[in-house]
Symmetry: C2
Subunit: 223 residues, 2 copies
């Protein structure tokens, strides 16, 4: 990931004096668990639809920071994914064609340098479990085990497992260049991508995943 | 990246018999150079605006594959980025608020397994040079050197160099969680992200970069 070096004392080689001891007691915030998302509404009434969707979503336990480009959501994996399901689902309930660009990240709480001590184990988490949203979504999904921060070993096994989980859930829809297609209830799509990200996160410290989600598209394949 | 294993003979450990000898003669297609993008138009007249933008953009030398989620663009780095500038710029000329979700990828032409021989050198490319689009864009940019495919060494130096290039170009706008902010002419934003991706690509075989671009936002910071 790319970002500013904001403190003179932070370098790629040394841990910031504020870096906590890493272990299972690390909070999601300390471990850099969170999302960025952009909600796009293909409708001239988009301001009302977006504000209404944000209003309806429960933000308990979450940190939200927004600007004109995208919104940051910080918190536990379960809460972050519930929030995304709720905001996107509420926007889709308007009937408008929706696209959501989502980034999930873990293991790199700093900016340019990840600010976790070198050699720290990768920390996974419990898988998320999301109740259905009641709206169909199709998505392109990419999963990125990164060079920064290090790896405990075999990162391909959790990737293969994530694909198998998507097939078992009935939402694996094939692949296109650079991405896997997912198709099903919005909650199932989000859950599959999140749990693939968490699974790889148990082996690789710094993992991101990207989802481009389409709902209510006029060109969507009919069931 | 995540995708289907489509051929029984493709495994993570062996090169497909169709894998060409890798070297500077590899075509962009063989090396897996390309983009996926989703163009979102916050306007009820979005179909006309999107079709019109696609109509205006020169697709010479490019492979395009589209579905309801996102569109694949294959070709040289220069042609792919010119095309993205032209389509997004044309859509923005409508005056509508636009968001574009862009993925650039290199070094993993296969699906689940990258299908380049292990130990193959990372192949960079000449930087792209894009004439201005004449429209302002703000973007969140993330740059991903990946574990798959291998690395020739120091991947952080080209990342730091990419940030410095953004600052020199006057389009570095700070950082937010997980992403760098870029702000300037659409062409300069695309060029900076692409050249950071190409630069890292000279050291790391499999590199992706994501851009979420916002144009004509009603909440955009005024100059």
């Amino acid at each position: 990931m790319v970002g500013a070096v904001t403190h003179a004392s932070d370098t790629a080689d040394s841990a910031s004096p504020q870096t906590p001891a890493v272990g299972p007691d690390m909070t999601p915030q300390q471990y850099g668990v969170g999302a960025r998302f952009t909600l796009s509404v293909y409708d001239s009434d988009y301001v009302r639809i977006i504000l209404g969707a944000l209003e309806q979503a429960d933000r308990t336990g979450l940190t939200l920071e927004t600007n004109d480009i995208s919104t940051f959501v910080g918190g536990t994996e379960q809460r972050v994914l519930e929030f995304l399901r709720d905001v996107i689902g509420a926007a889709a309930a308007s009937g408008a064609h929706i696209s959501a660009a989502i980034l999930l990240s873990r293991g790199c709480p700093g900016e340019l340098a990840c600010a976790l001590p070198a050699g720290v184990p990768a920390l996974g988490a419990a898988p998320v479990s999301l109740a259905p949203a009641g709206v169909r979504a199709r998505a392109h999904w990419s999963l990125y085990p990164l060079l920064d921060g290090g790896s405990e070993g075999d990162h391909m096994s959790p990737i293969y497992a994530a694909i198998e989980d998507a097939k078992t859930a009935g939402i694996y829809s094939g692949s296109d260049h650079f991405a896997t297609r997912l198709d099903g209830d919005l909650a199932a799509v989000l859950q599959t991508a999140a749990n693939g990200w968490i699974g790889v996160g148990g082996v690789v410290q710094h993992v991101t995943t990207h989802l481009t989600v389409s709902l209510n598209s006029p060109t969507q394949i009919a069931d």
